[in-house]
Symmetry: C2
Subunit: 265 residues, 2 copies
């Protein structure tokens, strides 16, 4: 009964990464604040399968690296971003999910502070609109030219996510493979991570105003929060700096930084 690894068929193993960031919209006037918009990093595919469709960044694993290291390296190649912690999201392994053959995807998610330094010319940040409908999730991605990519992802009776059109090699979503499903899973995970503010911090620079932090929460939860209550709740996790943010047509605000704690993420 000894397992001889050469005897059996083996899958290719890929790592796919969902990277979120927050991009500021332009200000309405000198008075108004700009709201951040949730964005996700996607690649326009330039090779088959799913040529010219958008997909998550990722790549195939090799024995010199762990899966996480492959994911980190691929992410760095596309965006120049490194040294950010990845969290495991799910493994997708249904045969047929990739027309090239038996390919398992290990999916990770993370948050990066926004910067324009996307180093791959086919990579780009897409704005995310996400809504929970009666019996499915609706996902709308918008590129920098305003093109919209819509996907619907449904829940089955086991409360697992599946792609409505999973039997087809070419999905009716606007994303390659089962990547719409992966993004929806990541969005749900992101929402659930907000009971502690450690994920929210990662959208922002070292120093930030409490309003900026609150806007991150509002962006992810899709609803307004009351300032007074938000401040009280969050104060235990942050500390004041000596800095002040000026320049808007209203009272300037103190800058805060996250308090050191043993267990950030």
């Amino acid at each position: 009964m000894t397992y001889d690894i050469s005897e059996y068929d083996r899958p290719s193993v890929a790592a796919d990464i969902v990277v979120f960031t927050a991009r500021k919209t332009s200000r309405e006037s000198y008075r108004h604040l700009s709201a951040p918009e949730l964005s996700v990093l996607l690649i326009k595919r330039k090779e088959p399968p799913f040529m010219d469709m958008i997909s998550l960044p990722g790549g195939f694993c090799c024995r010199e690296e762990t899966i996480e290291e492959t994911a980190e390296r691929k992410l760095c190649e596309k965006t120049g971003v490194s040294d950010i912690p990845l969290s495991l999201l799910c493994n997708l392994s249904k045969f047929g999910r990739d027309p090239r053959g038996w390919i398992i995807s290990c999916c990770y998610w993370t948050i990066a502070e926004y910067s324009d330094t996307v180093t791959d010319k086919n990579a780009q940040w897409y704005n995310v609109k996400f809504e929970e409908k009666e019996n499915h999730y609706s996902l709308v991605l918008t590129d920098n030219d305003g093109n919209e990519y819509r996907s619907e992802v449904m829940l089955n009776n086991k409360n697992e996510l599946y792609n409505q059109y999973e039997k087809a090699y070419i999905p009716k979503t606007s994303l390659a493979f089962d990547h719409a499903e992966i993004i929806v899973r990541a969005l749900l995970r992101l929402r659930n991570s907000l009971d502690k503010p450690f994920a929210a911090f990662r959208f922002l620079p070292e120093e930030f105003t409490l309003t900026e932090l609150q806007q991150i929460y509002e962006m992810i939860l899709g609803k307004k929060l009351l300032m007074a209550n938000f401040r009280r709740k969050i104060l235990q996790y942050v500390e004041e700096t000596d800095e002040i943010e000026r320049g808007a047509g209203h009272r300037p605000s103190k800058l805060y930084r996250k308090k050191n704690s043993e267990n950030d993420f």
Copy 2:
């Protein structure tokens, strides 16, 4: 740049499963309740590598199944237990973790109601003693004959778990491969899952007393809870039945069942 899956080296992919259960200890007297003990399902290996050591149940993936299906099937083969939801725990993929070659492990964890029907003669429930020390975790497993298997698992500075002896093919823990590390990760996950009682329910039959449920909490958290407070907190998740449990030398207790809710796990 098209990926030809035959061109690259591919790993073997295995699924390993951490199954927890609660076994009742014998009663001290007719008056006393019996406390449950946390146990985990392990297999005595009868083939190399790590012959005669204990290891998690698991098996290799094939293209006819998803990884989760492989895990469910293997679990059913060893224990007869089926239809229990598995949760993804981690992927371990460091080259060298398995002396047979490049083998990735996708690790899942779950909870089963206790029964003696372990169908594989080398499979057995092991009692778990788990302690957080200064800079590592200490794990002691005890088999039905009272033999103890001790392992120490450490934390590195990135707050990830790693095996103290990871460079050696034959670990100095009493478990095969990196399975001590996997069990520790599952124990931590189990502890963190208790803010809602859905995991705790799965240790118990359909109908249970609130004291039994509280004992599950105490078993996992490793500390006593106050009955009055526990009852108040848990009441929102359970409903009374008409049944009563009798037979002990004290006031009989009502049986409860979990309340139906949309999102159990």
